[in-house]
Symmetry: D2
């Protein structure tokens, strides 16, 4: 089977790099189009990005280094590439102003490109699904409505949520899916510096230090789970009413891997700790059933050691796509406490985007 040619917008940034690294040797997709800012346009990807390559030990397939980077603002280049068979859809890892991203992503969609976005610009657009493939794969049902309302034919936009919520949203969803009402959550996150892109926080702020603030992050961490857990009503995705979330977001001196300390209150019915661990350990969802290439075997890995999960030891679990949970114990104030951990640039960014694309391919939205 010929691979589907894909473009990456914002290909030289940190998340863009991660897309290229993770797509090397992908069985379904092949990166054949890279676009970035005008500053990079016209250079080979090697010249544009080699000096700032930051995506761990992973490297893109060799052919990517020789791609001539295009100007992401110049949609005609992408259209031409599609005609040449090198760009059937795009991953958006754009790093610009929110309004510019919103418009540019719409321009791509209007021009017929499925846009799988990592950006926050469209997360609160009512008919744009915010996907975690294991949690709300059915939200893609809104795509035809999105296309119809905007008179787009093949193009559409889907987004993924912020990296900060991935360490607890899937575990919380698994409990809800098992029939338990999750009423309230208080969560403190300890987030890696790569979550801020490059250059991100100054080393003077992160050596021997912690910064108990990340602009906009707490708001996203509190609101986004509600849309993901919501439902399609008419032409819009309507938020779930629960759980109420209070988030304390901290930046810590860790390269990759976001940790979340969660206190959780159930409704009337409360599972035992063993039941919680059983639910998480057994949790499988559509990506696992479909054996999507990027899907982790087990979306949630339960650690029994008293001092796990830890970023350096657990972030890479199952290709960086699994959420590791541990320290499952009662809460002195609510019902349940646990620690969740996920890789913020893989599960929480590029890997999550690729998994969404795989789901969309399976569902027929991408081909």
């Amino acid at each position: 089977m010929a691979k589907i040619p894909v473009g990456v917008l914002g290909a030289t940034g940190m998340v863009g790099q991660q897309y290229l690294a993770l797509l090397a040797n992908h069985p379904w997709f092949e990166v054949r189009y890279a676009a970035a800012s005008p500053r990079s346009a016209g250079k080979t990807y090697r010249d544009a990005a080699a000096g700032r390559w930051n995506a761990g030990a992973g490297l893109p397939q060799d052919s990517v280094w020789d791609l001539v980077v295009k100007d992401a603002n110049d949609i005609s280049q992408a259209v031409k590439a599609r005609e040449e068979g090198t760009c059937a859809f795009v991953f958006s890892a754009l790093e610009m102003g929110k309004d510019e991203i919103r418009q540019l992503e719409e321009t791509y969609a209007a021009a017929g490109f499925p846009v799988i976005s990592n950006a926050s610009a469209h997360r609160w657009t009512a008919d744009v699904p915010m996907l975690i493939a294991e949690v709300n794969p059915g939200h893609t049902d809104i795509i035809p409505l999105q296309q119809k309302a905007r008179r787009w034919d093949r193009g559409f936009i889907v987004v993924k949520p912020n990296c900060s919520i991935q360490s607890y949203t899937t575990p919380v969803y698994a409990l809800i899916a098992a029939g338990y009402d999750v009423k309230r959550i208080i969560v403190s996150t300890l987030q890696a510096v790569s979550g801020a892109g490059y250059p991100g926080p100054a080393s003077l702020d992160m050596l021997d230090n912690v910064v108990p603030y990340i602009g906009g992050e707490e708001e996203k961490s509190e609101a986004e789970p509600l849309k993901i857990l919501g439902s399609i009503q008419g032409n819009a995705i309507v938020n779930a009413e629960r759980p109420a979330v209070s988030a304390h977001c901290n930046r810590v001196p860790v390269t990759d891997g976001h940790t979340a300390c969660v206190s959780l209150e159930f409704g009337a019915e409360k599972p035992s700790l063993d039941e919680v661990k059983r639910i998480w350990g057994d949790f499988r969802a559509l990506p696992q059933e479909l054996k999507l290439p990027m899907a982790p075997e087990r979306p949630i890995i339960v650690r029994e050691e008293e001092n796990r999960p830890q970023p350096r030891k657990d972030r890479d679990a199952d290709k960086g796509m699994a959420v590791s949970v541990g320290r499952v114990r009662p809460c002195k104030v609510f019902d349940l406490r646990f620690v969740g951990l996920s890789h913020n640039t893989i599960r929480g960014a590029a890997g999550g985007g690729i998994l969404n694309a795989e789901l969309l391919k399976h569902q027929g939205y991408i081909s």
Copy 2:
């Protein structure tokens, strides 16, 4: 006025070192007796400790380097020192098994030494006060009862609480003292490695990593505030009933300074954010009234910047004795959120112990 001669038990350990550094040039006290393990006994303090000196840039007074370290287990040495006028009371920074410490501290007290302890051994002994000088200075009223019950004449034991609770207990107390009922608290701490003593955590566990577990720390963090906020009833200090505390304790790659992210639920009456900040900014207590040498001018410093307090920038505030609070904002689940920070080896250990001793001297228990 001649200075009161004081001994430090466990003088070569991390907290012991901090005591020596902070007592250099103290106006009331002078270290003239140092005791440690049999391994160090007989050496000069220079030989016993110089190679492991870790208490920042602070150094003990010059005369300390030449003290011959005694065996802390050999109480007769301390008695002899008292007779020679070089040890009127002791700071206990012992590092051994809990049972051994409990017995040894009692032995010192029985031999007539006031024991100001940093250890956890006696924190839950009913007639031993666990002091934060700004919060429960009146708990020293139990000392005569303690002495009577145990037939000790001049000796007694007071302890200080764990370093993990200092970043939130004083702010919480200030709210209670202002008349507000604090019902429940969920707190996540980001604790410095010096809190574990030396050598403490391995660098392989703390570089590019976070460990979401500290043995015994959550239990202490939840229980100790209740004793401190409790009251003397008969021969015992009886716990306060509130607030219920749920603590998530994390070790982070920071040398000094514990950070706490707090969500707090009030009773029926809830102060505004401005009122909270006013209460904290205006808070003064007995150590401030008495102008005790180690007392910070303002026990609670309210930071208005959006990204403070931070360990490296705020831990040394007011000689490391102030608690810095910031990010005062509403909680989406409870009523109030804030971040508290204090220096764990100063406010949370040796500095707090010295302040307790100053209080006891003022109260006439030490002379």
Copy 3:
């Protein structure tokens, strides 16, 4: 072809773990025997090691977790295992006193086991080769002499050098092999904490700090290259006379990857910088010719960026087995300056040991 069953002595330590992780799915060898201290003996490897697992994201093959760990001091266990077909030779990653290791390794060899050692105990035994497979593969010619002198039949001992020298010894050898006389070297190393094993340096010593001393490391760094570059004369390996090496060894807050800053003086004939880079880029040796499974394609990778190599970005190059060099430039005092970097627990420890075993298998010493 059936895989050769192999045992790992010191299997629960940091280097032992790395052996197990790197040998998962090895095409020639399969770990079927694990021995460690009496403390671990009798437990499954899972119980003995899971809580201290530290070898990055790599994991041993599943079957290893269920191996019952034996006491490494009890040679009869290994003999029994050989009889049962589960231990044909051993990797020694023992962590005990040097004299004990020396004796124990001899006992294994005397009992007929080829011993591929990571320990320093036998590095200066005259008839024990200290191997870097790309540099002195011919030193294995001494094995029959070693066996004869000691009346061992199948058993023998080979060792690998200290991790600190791997970042510069192969580049220096490549220049010598190209015909240039390397007279003197002054090198400063910036070494990762994993080089000290676990727990290794305290985090209090490595956060916001550098320690300009590693016990015994400078001596090893200066002497070992001379044996490796030496030659077999009679029954002994005789040191090369050059280069003279002066080493400054520093511990830096890096998890993995040793960096070396080298100033090098040539003899009369001095290659140009381009010639140096050509020699390094083209360097291939016996392991590459033989396509040994663990051999890197290119033993030396020349980086042209002005700020490389860097530990986090380059340590994993070619499975962690390549040495990355960069900043090739003239020296103001000697002739040549460069920076070399290699992964200390892979190239510098377990990976190097495995490559040595592959060489020995090819040469017929292991089967």
Copy 4:
């Protein structure tokens, strides 16, 4: 005695902040004028700098927070301040292009201001002395020639060298001053991130990593000692011919404190190690004789511990103004090895500049 009013140019940057912190309570100087970029001009210092305050726990005198920051480019403001008695001379901590700084400093000097500069712009101007107060205080003799050649009356420019050389230049000078010929030096530096100003290196480049390159730093480290050790000949300072220096400059994850690993070759006469340590321990220079306020008691502190100096433990020695040396040992290639350490933003920047100003006041150039 009334204090001399002083201005700080570039007052909001990292070095500017350090000047303000170190000048709080200075016995001779008082900061009464602060200038920075047009962006900060017109704001109080509090508003301009509070959010970016980074100079450790030190704080400026209270009155500085209320100073209205002026535009450093607007020389008329400084002239007006002088007339009002609030700016007799200036410390330049400007952060702009080198050419702009060169011109602007000349403009201040031409307007009659002594300029004590931290910038590199004028380091190689032949009649501008590059001062380390303990090494070449006599180079200020060129000031009258500088003034005459440029037709300046009271104004002049002096500079201080780069922070990277301070850890070894004073020790090397002390050996030269004791009569030993120092021929060649190979030095590797491990430099703190604060040396790059704020924001400086990205945390992603400095967590779990080392960067073996700092732009322009090796050139400065090799050349500047020669001017400092040079002599006035006619209207110019002429470089010393020795020692030849080869520098390897590395950025390491340390907040403050530059470490240097030095191999040193003497001429024919070679002191013993004891003699070297004696020379360093006894070294005193003009600032010590004059008891200048910022002068360390001992410019060079010799540490005998095997693992010192270390940045976190030694950078603050004697107010951050002493150079700590240790690991004094023979070199296997040259004659002597040692490790030097100094605080880069104090001894290597603002503290060194203040000491220079104190020297100039003593010499009558500032009043």
